[in-house]
Symmetry: C2
Subunit: 282 residues, 2 copies
């Protein structure tokens, strides 16, 4: 695995690969890798000739008072995990390499950034879209993989790719969960044992909502009520709503398919999770 710190070097590696007529798969991460990330890396490795993983804790997607400065890291462990999965290139730029002092260009996916986390983290998705556009131009991948835990992020990136005509295929990968059901996240490392137990109730809530949907319920308020009954008292909710899977507009009534998504604080840790309500699948 070659470790690359500069944009120029990453770009020239990608150019060489393209010249050979070979393909590149990209997995962008913020590091502190868990099994969710690793499922993306494994899949990426199967899909293309060369596998590029990036680790970059992107300042542009953190708001004031958020956890940029304490975001967990364990680079030596991450490197070992990536080497083990036959990663070809680890792109690891410094913040000033990605955002020089006169940096001022932002990509904004407007409508899709309004609801869900967009309401509680203003500017977050603009930071995400901007850094992903940069990584797409630097790495020039054929495909890029993102986790479905960040459903809104994945939807926004798909829209950006379509709107700005990036010649890149976006692949979403299923949520990987801990044994108690908690969706894997680097931020789970912030949780105490008690908090982790409480956080486990988030997925139980989503599943309770889905159970009611599968039993025929279509009224969003009714589904939410059943779900919320399962949430532990320590779970402080930002949103817990049903949305159209495409437009991300909130739904009063569910049709054939809906996104049931939640963001909640457990102690000082903000967690997100979601489940798709859809018949015929479970």
């Amino acid at each position: 695995m070659k470790i690359i710190n500069t944009i120029d070097e990453m770009r020239s590696a990608s150019r060489s690969i393209k010249k050979e007529g070979k393909t590149i798969a990209l997995v962008p991460t913020m590091g502190y890798l868990h099994d969710g990330h690793l499922s993306l890396v494994r899949e990426a490795g199967k899909k293309c000739d060369y596998l590029v993983v990036t680790i970059f804790v992107n300042p542009a997607q953190f708001g004031e008072g958020e956890d940029l400065k304490i975001y967990p890291e364990n680079l030596s462990r991450d490197k070992a995990l990536l080497r083990n999965l036959d990663t070809d290139f680890l792109f690891l730029p410094a913040a000033q390499e990605m955002y020089p002092p006169d940096f001022q260009t932002y990509v904004d996916v407007k409508d899709l950034s309004k609801n869900l986390c967009g309401e509680f983290r203003p500017g977050h998705f603009c930071g995400v879209a901007t850094v992903v556009a940069k990584l797409f131009n630097i790495v020039a991948p054929d495909i890029a993989l993102f986790g479905e835990k960040d459903y809104q992020q994945l939807r926004i990136i798909r829209q950006m790719v379509e709107d700005l005509n990036f010649d890149i295929k976006i692949v979403g990968m299923p949520i990987i969960r801990e044994s108690g059901g908690l969706a894997m996240s680097s931020r789970n490392s912030y949780l105490s044992a008690d908090e982790k137990a409480a956080a486990g109730s988030i997925y139980r809530s989503l599943k309770a909502g889905k159970k009611l949907f599968l039993a025929g319920a279509r009224n969003a308020a009714e589904i939410k009520r059943a779900a919320l009954e399962k949430a532990a008292g320590e779970v402080d909710i930002d949103y817990f709503e049903l949305y159209d899977t495409n437009s991300l507009e909130p739904l009063d009534r569910v049709g054939e398919k809906a996104l049931f998504a939640v963001a909640a604080h457990v102690g000082k840790t903000r967690l997100i999770d979601n489940i798709i309500l859809e018949e015929d699948k479970s």
Copy 2:
């Protein structure tokens, strides 16, 4: 010359060229071509294996009450001119091809879009940056050429390329002028003979300012005063200022180099022009 109307077809043409290991030069235009455009097309033809010209009157860069609906066009003449200059591909998409109904992603180059035309045409440069980003991704050129008449636009595109890491070389080309000195523009076709005569005073004004600069003047107000004396009464000024060539911030005192830029209405027609104040060149 192959005429292409769809993004998919343009993209696959570019892919084939890249597969051959050949290079592409792009000249994006809004059509109604004049000698300024043609100087870009000629230069582009020299620089790469394949020459792509786009004609697209981009709705996203026109504000309300602006001239989108009456923007001049003469497609058969444009095609003949481009064929004559050995253009390989003319990309000619419809507005709905570039902006489908759910389009919502915009690129904004923030600081550089504030002054000059940015003040008088809110959203204009966001529309420009967005469509140019799209064209860059669709055509995947090695180089792209833009005229220096639209100095702010050129500066913004350079910044976008740097900030979003497009792997594209941007080439600026000198202003081409009519015999009376008026900078060539498709919008000059709106001018009556009297208006055209008055519009000619814009460049005489810029030259008067430059003359004073070359004689040693460094005070912006003094240079502007000398310039404005040459402007015809029919010229209704939006701005007529000295700017830092890099930051586009207005200057009170000129150092070694400055942009002297003007936007003005002559009748109903809005015109822009500029000159670089710099010693050793004229």
